[in-house]
Amino acid sequence: MRPLLSVEDLSIGFGKDNPVVRNVSFSVAAGETLAIVGESGSGKTISCRAILRILPRAARLDCGRMILAGNGADGDLDLAQISERQMRHVRGNRIAMIFQEPMRSLSPLHRIGNQVSEVLHLHGRCSEAEARQQVLDCFERVGFPDPERTWRSYPFELSGGMRQRAMIAMAMVAKPELLIADEPTTALDVTTQAQVLGLMKELQQETGMAMILVTHDLGVVANMAEQVVVMHKGRVMEAGAAEPILRAPAHPYTQDLFHAAPKIPQEPAARRETGTEGPDKDLILELKHVTKTFTLRSGKSWSKPTLVRACEEVDLELPRGTTLAIVGESGSGKTTAARIALGAETVDPGGEILFRASPGADPLRVHDMDRAARRAFQRQAQMVFQDPYSSLSPRQRILDTLSEPLEIHGTGSRADHRDRAAEMLGLVGLPTDMLTRFPHAFSGGQRQRLSIARALMLDPKLLVCDEPTSALDVSVQEQILSLLEEIRDARQLSYLFISHDLAVVARIADEVAVMRRGMIVEQAPPEVLFHDPKHPYTKALIAAQPVPDVDRPINLKLVAQGAGAPENWPEAFRFAGQDAPPLVPLDPGHKVRCHV
């Protein structure tokens, strides 16, 4: 069959530099999905933007043809050659695009209905009333329960998943022949991602459009694509039908990508010996009955403030030398729990956080510290942040960044600081001659190593890692996780590990607590949790995780049930309102929130 769009020999450069995309060719046929896979800097995004010619102003198309097959009236078009005027007729009309960040890809000041129906007006398809009807139908199709209401809504009134649905509606309303989706689900929670991917697939089957899906996630590829192009540093590494490539990648780079992709293991892995069994456990950190209520004040001083429970009756125990992971989607309260554990957030009366710096020591009451105790505690407990790009000051040399904690706590001389900084750089696998450089000289993975080094400067006993790998490419993510494991075992560190990513957690944690809306719904060691999940929400999380295996597609039914309202959960777990059942131990070490 003749392809709908065929890109041949595309090269894109910036200024006088060498091209960032070199001789890339791919094609996509109607009704087919092509996935362009690559890590950051691979040129995947810029290649797909070149199709619509929405490139940064400094970019130039060096060579190449992009032939869009004619439809009836029009002949074939070379998108690289046609005038801006003709291009505008293609954009949004014949080729539509969905962007990565649904939060920012819609104008904050215009109503959703206005923004979506604009596509139809722009291409002069129909009258005002017809356009409105079409848009409302489209809203209904992409899963808005009340299309009229959505029409009147502003983007900030919708959740991330709903905004992405609005974006999809905007792209689909003109019934394009080709849809380009640039990391459409990367910014979304897993369960939302699964539903959005499912929706896109359904829509494609209904309309028979072609789709180009740009992604870094091989799991998404396995679920969506018929064709794959693997890109690396602006070149195509491997291309062809998805199934054979996913089953047996030929190119070494594709193999590396596969190897690095974190997976939820199918076979129970051998349990790491932590030496923490037995009745008298040596706990470094204990959270007891921790509840945190935030008060949202509305703009009017006379109306009653809203109370939000970020954490509700959270009980957690972290044995020394192990990793406790808290998993949850956005708004689950996992970050609040981490901040509470560090004493950065107060708790409602009745909650207790106990910290023991050494085995058998008197517990430090983290929720109730004076200044001196807080200083001492800060030396023992440190944090690794999510975004290595914004958590390092761009104006400080690495040496200054690393020695700052020592200066604050007034220990040692400048020479000591330097030695210590050099030692820590070595520990995280960076050459020590980098001390005098600035953060911008480092890649994302190196920066995350730096922030780990900074956290280790004071020789803490407890490290709180808040999504330390979620901003990184998969291959780098793998390295950082290995590094964290090595350091934990070498230095007898204990981690409180916050993540939304089950696969990451499956690999590093000794104990996993799944949180939903401030409550722990299930808690168990990973090998138990991932192979014998009891709670529908845990099942949904696991089912929603895309795995790079064509034989294990996402089970949308499980996702929809578990991620939905608690009223629709199976009998044993069901509850309404605030009436949640207690967290009960089903087996030793496996707690589930259910009616017994």
């Binding site: 695009m97 960040e101 920012r104 890809s105 104008s107 215009h110 009134e157 703009g299 009017k300």
Partner: protein
């Protein structure tokens, strides 16, 4: 309805603020030691003109200047009965100018609305110039158009206003036959309003508007350009382009709407800056606005006059801020919905 309630609420806070301002203004005009009359009495005594002293003493009693300061304030505001019952700001009696020996309202009468007129013209000028130029400079950033606009803008910022005024008067008169100084031809002063008078005023307004507005316009233009450039990098702009919008329409509909907020929020700041900034210009240009009156009144400690002028400027500012607040709420749904229960 929501917006109406907000406007009423905002009007209420404005009145409260105005009350606070009146206290401040009263304190400020009483800060220098003595007052116009006590200075005058001392002077008269020194030169032995006892007859004048009696009149001044009479005025002191007449305007309650012999009472304690807090009573003076309330009498000035018209919240307490003075020697002639309730007669103060609230009742519309703005007091007596000792310097000019006439009621304040008579002195400022004409200059009040002329001030409003000149400043409105200047604000309009600022917006009409800054809006298209700022958008253009942002859309064509890093091109000759951008650089030229920036150059002219900085020239406008850097040139002292009075100098600009003199230059414009000279060349405007020489080549375009524009009148020099004043806000109307002398023969219309004190005359009732007529078409001829309006025409004369409009022609006289050209140079002052330009002079007072230039620096504000260039500052505003630069700010709008920076805001627009910020917005142009946002993903929703890309979304709009990917829909197939024409660049000009896209600019107007999306980034400009967002970049417009600071633009609107500035209305409140623009007014007082212009009134106080235009004092010197008004003196140089011979405009019968309130600026020169304020200057004179402050110099001679003519307290009721300066007090009234300060209150008037404060009122202009507060009205400006109120207008911009209400407009912002109208323009930006995010602000609108924040004050609503969710």
């Amino acid at each position: 309805m929501e917006i109406l309630r907000y406007a009423i609420y905002r009007f209420g806070t404005m009145l409260l603020t105005l009350l606070l301002v009146s206290v401040l203004v009263f304190c400020i005009i009483n800060l220098p030691p003595g007052d116009f009359l006590s200075n005058q009495i001392a002077e008269l005594r020194a030169t032995g003109q006892e007859a004048g002293v009696a009149k001044a003493e009479f005025l002191r009693r007449e305007y309650a200047l012999d009472k304690p300061l807090w009573q003076q304030y309330f009498i000035w505001m018209g919240l307490l009965p003075g020697p002639h019952g309730f007669s103060g700001m609230v009742q519309g009696n703005f007091g007596w100018s000792f310097e000019f020996d006439r009621p304040v309202s008579e002195i400022v009468g004409d200059s009040l609305w002329l001030t409003v007129l000149v400043n409105l013209a200047a604000v309009l000028f600022v917006y009409l110039v800054a809006l298209p130029l700022g958008v253009l400079a942002a859309a064509k950033s890093r091109t000759m158009i951008d650089y030229t606009a920036a150059f002219i803008g900085y020239l406008g910022l850097a040139t002292p206003n009075f100098l600009l005024a003199l230059i414009l008067f000279y060349y405007g008169h020489q080549y375009l036959g524009l009148p020099i100084g004043g806000l109307m031809a002398p023969e219309y002063e004190g005359e009732p309003m007529s078409w001829e008078k309006v025409r004369s005023i409009l022609i006289h307004l050209i140079v002052p508007t330009f002079v007072i507005g230039t620096s504000g316009a260039s500052a505003m233009m630069q700010r709008l350009r920076a805001n627009m450039l910020d917005e142009l990098g946002k993903p929703y702009v890309e979304t709009a382009v990917a829909k197939g919008m024409r660049p000009s329409r896209m600019l107007m509909k999306y980034p400009l709407r967002v970049a417009f907020n600071p633009f609107v929020a500035d209305i409140g700041n623009l007014l007082p800056a212009m009134v106080s900034g235009s004092v010197l210009v008004s003196v140089v240009l011979g405009l019968q606005t309130i600026g020169p009156v304020l200057l004179q009144a402050l110099k001679s400690q003519d307290m009721f006059l300066s007090g009234f002028v300060l209150m008037f400027v404060a009122l202009l500012t507060l009205i400006g801020t109120m207008i911009s607040d209400v407009l912002l709420v109208l323009l930006d749904p995010r602000i609108r919905y924040e004050s609503r229960d969710t």
